[in-house]
């Protein structure tokens, strides 16, 4: 009977402080010590110095957007800390700055990628793609000889001085096809290494401008179809013919048979029969990825069963780990119990070892024919823990429980400390049984502080790619069913298979679109359950 009033009185005591009236605010300002002010100013000075330096560098790099952002943030921070008042901002700003830089940026970046075709074969700029195509189109003419080479320089222009296998010495440059030279010096091996009026470049001289040397093509003759000499190393040259020519005016590639490759609008050069040149480049594709996400057969087919299992997996993971963690926290929250230190340490151990190592051990333990579980615990039975659809679901949950309960145990152990002992004492004196004390007083109070963590744990498990991939890879898969989804596939693993395992390879654009959609699901569920918890009630 007396339990309820006690609980609510605590809630009242811990509830919102009244909004501070103006008077205390002024008092706070006055109370601000000179020492504190000096500290503030010292820290701000360092911050401003760093910011000004960054602004200076960004200014030089002409990154105007970033200049604006850095400037705005710096001014804002200065205002927050120099201006009296705005107390919440003073406490929130440090954490928020880090959050904005390292977390929000990642989210924004993923959001941006969802509207592009970024992925395998489409991961750079168009200019880079053209440059790479030109580079790889250089094919060495079959059975052509090796020319011994010396690179010369005259008036800032590079020249190739080559000695061909017959001993003939030729000179040429980018604009001037190879021509025999008469007047040259040779080294001990008979390789021409100097021409009067030209500077001979050593290997170290070449290092300063490597790209220019390796990009240099010296035509064998006036006829471009004879090919051009290029050097990969600065000391020998080979005869190359390009299999593709880029025409800047029309923005097309033409190969030797005359086939034309045009910018197909899909981030690649493509010919009429649909053959693409690699690599392509990243372009903006608008909502295409979202449309694909909704229309992909491999997602739509198994979508319902996978979604149900994803929710089941996430909810059961939270419930089991929390239940076990809480139970253990209560069990070992006994002041005079001996050896509880040891128990607690053992309980932390699963959390202290690398997760994938534990995962592999469990994989071994659950092996159908050789695992300890079947061999010893079940006396040599052949239970298909990881290869039967239902048992695999169970095993995944079991291993996740093993991996996750220490976290809940720690949190509950900590949270239990926040419940004033007087409450339980008072209730016990009033004759309440321990279970009633727990159910009616401790548990509701505990839930208030851990509910957001449970929601967050739900979200984590909803996207718990690693545990599924490590243990079953989403399997067992019914290969006769014609779908890619296995019995333990959750949404994120299914997305992974579709976005990274089909067609041209990894499609980050599609994956990001899926990520956004999944995020919307999780966020909606979280907001709803957040509303339902006392956590929010208490906020008002």
């Amino acid at each position: 009977m007396s339990i309820h009033p006690t609980a609510s009185s605590v809630a009242a005591a811990t509830a919102t402080p009244p909004p501070a009236p103006p008077a205390p605010v002024r008092r706070i300002r006055q109370a601000r010590s000179t020492r504190g002010l000096i500290m503030t100013i010292a820290l701000l000075s360092i911050l401003d110095a760093i910011a000004v330096f960054a602004l200076f560098m960004l200014f030089l790099q002409e990154e105007w957007l970033l200049v604006g952002i850095v400037l705005a943030v710096t001014v804002l921070l200065n205002v927050i800390y120099l201006r009296p008042g705005w107390l919440p901002a003073k406490y929130l700003a440090p954490g928020l700055v880090f959050l904005a830089i390292f977390q929000i940026f990642v989210v924004v970046y993923s959001g941006y990628i969802a509207f592009t075709n970024y992925g395998d074969g489409r991961n750079g700029s168009k200019d880079d793609a053209i440059q790479t195509i030109v580079l790889t189109a250089q094919e060495r003419v079959p059975d052509s000889p090796t020319y011994r080479l010396t690179v010369l320089e005259q008036f800032g222009e590079y020249f190739f001085l080559v000695t061909d296998p017959t001993g003939e010495v030729l000179l040429g440059s980018a604009d001037q096809p190879l021509e025999p030279v008469g007047d040259f010096g040779t080294d001990s091996t008979g390789k021409a290494d100097s021409v009067p009026g030209f500077t001979t470049l050593t290997f170290n001289d070449l290092l300063g401008n490597q790209r220019a040397i390796t990009d240099l093509a010296v035509q064998l003759s006036d006829d471009p179809n004879d090919g051009a000499l290029r050097t990969p190393d600065g000391s020998s040259a080979y005869l190359y013919l390009s299999s593709l020519e880029y025409d800047e005016a029309t923005d097309t590639f033409v190969d030797r048979s005359g086939t034309v490759y045009r910018d197909g609008g899909d981030g690649a050069f493509v010919n009429d029969s649909g053959r693409e040149l690699t690599p392509g480049w990243t372009i903006n594709v608008g909502f295409d990825n979202f449309i694909t996400a909704f229309t992909t057969e491999n997602i739509r087919g198994p979508l319902i069963s996978v979604t149900i299992w994803t929710f089941a997996f996430a909810i059961l993971s939270v419930v089991t780990t929390f239940a076990l963690g809480l139970f253990l926290a209560i069990v070992f929250n006994k002041p005079l119990m001996r050896g509880k230190k040891i128990y607690r340490i053992i309980m932390i151990l699963p959390y202290a070892f690398p997760g994938f190592l534990s995962g592999l051990v469990w994989l071994g333990l659950l092996n159908q024919d050789f695992g300890y579980v079947n061999q010893v615990i079940f006396g040599g039975a052949s239970i298909p823990w990881l290869t039967d659809p239902w048992l695999a679901k169970f095993s995944v949950l079991l291993v996740n429980l093993w991996l996750g309960f220490p976290y809940m145990f720690l949190i509950c152990t900590g949270a239990l400390q926040s419940i004033p002992e007087e409450l339980t004492e008072a209730a016990t004196v009033d004759g309440a049984r321990p279970w009633a004390v727990f159910r009616l007083i401790k548990f509701p109070l505990l839930l208030v502080s851990v509910a957001p963590l449970l929601i967050s744990s739900f979200a984590f498990n909803f996207n718990n790619f690693n545990i599924i991939y490590m243990l079953t890879g989403g399997g067992p898969r019914d290969v006769t069913a014609g779908v890619d989804a296995g019995a333990t596939d959750i949404l994120i693993t299914l997305v992974y298979k579709v976005a990274f395992g089909e067609g041209t390879g990894r499609d980050y654009g599609l994956a990001s679109a899926f990520a956004i959609l999944i995020f919307l699901i999780v966020a909606t569920v979280s907001i709803i359950s957040f509303r339902q918890t006392k956590a929010l009630e208490e906020l008002n």
Partner: protein, 297 residues
Amino acid sequence: MTSTARIIPATRRKGFLYWARDTGWRHLIGLVMLVFAAFPLLYVLSASLNPSGTLVGSNDLFRTIDFGNYVRLFQLPQQPFAAWFLNTMIIGSVAALGTVFLGALAAYAFSRMRFTGRRVGLLTLLLVQMFPQLLGVVAIFLLLTGIGEIFPAIGIGTQTGLILVYLGGALGVNTYLMYGFFNTVPVSIDEAAKIDGASHARIFFTIILRLVAPILAVVGLLSFIGSTSEFVIASIVLTDPQTQTLAVGLYQFVSQETSRNWTIFSAGAVLAALPVVALFLYLQKYIIGGLTAGAVK
């Protein structure tokens, strides 16, 4: 539950049965959990003591006891285990301290102050961390490369840069944990101090933080474990073996199917778990120190 003073005489009188009902069953549960929690790790320990074994190839545990793997760990020039260990301790400690500090600041603001956007802010903190980070690594790489062009000291390849990335996650779930706990500290304490003329900073640093020590310890421990076991970002950011953490370094022993060295890896994992255990032991007195609320009054 009930105060211990009353239990002790009762125990003497009722003897074993009472003990079993009051404490004994807890030991029973403790033993069951001991098996459940520790058994899989025995494989790791067994592998670490075997000079040439596999991780799970055999159920025949502890066939050999040989500390050679532990010795060898410290003798590989390309895999400076001692340096990894030190790096992990430094990065883990700094990140944990930073997380606790930033998180506590924010939790204090959310718990004690009322301002527009507070509710939305709390919810946003939770939601931001739910975003599936498929591209997190790519984004972090781009970000740190960009930052590194201006401040090489915190770019790719630096431990400072990695710590900063970890601090990006300081607000979030941890803030909630602390927020809930801060709420249990009666506001009357702040008020009293305020009337005595203490500034808000003084109240926060000298009064509140002491009262919430248990949750600071829990968050510190969680964040320490989190940043020491983090692999994906650390492997992108830390490139020089001398700067790497245990999680990144150790994984190299087993990353390649054809040259896996489970036994050395296991030895490394066992040693790597020790600091976590030690930290827990050390923090335990804060976490379970308990009776905080009582001490306040």
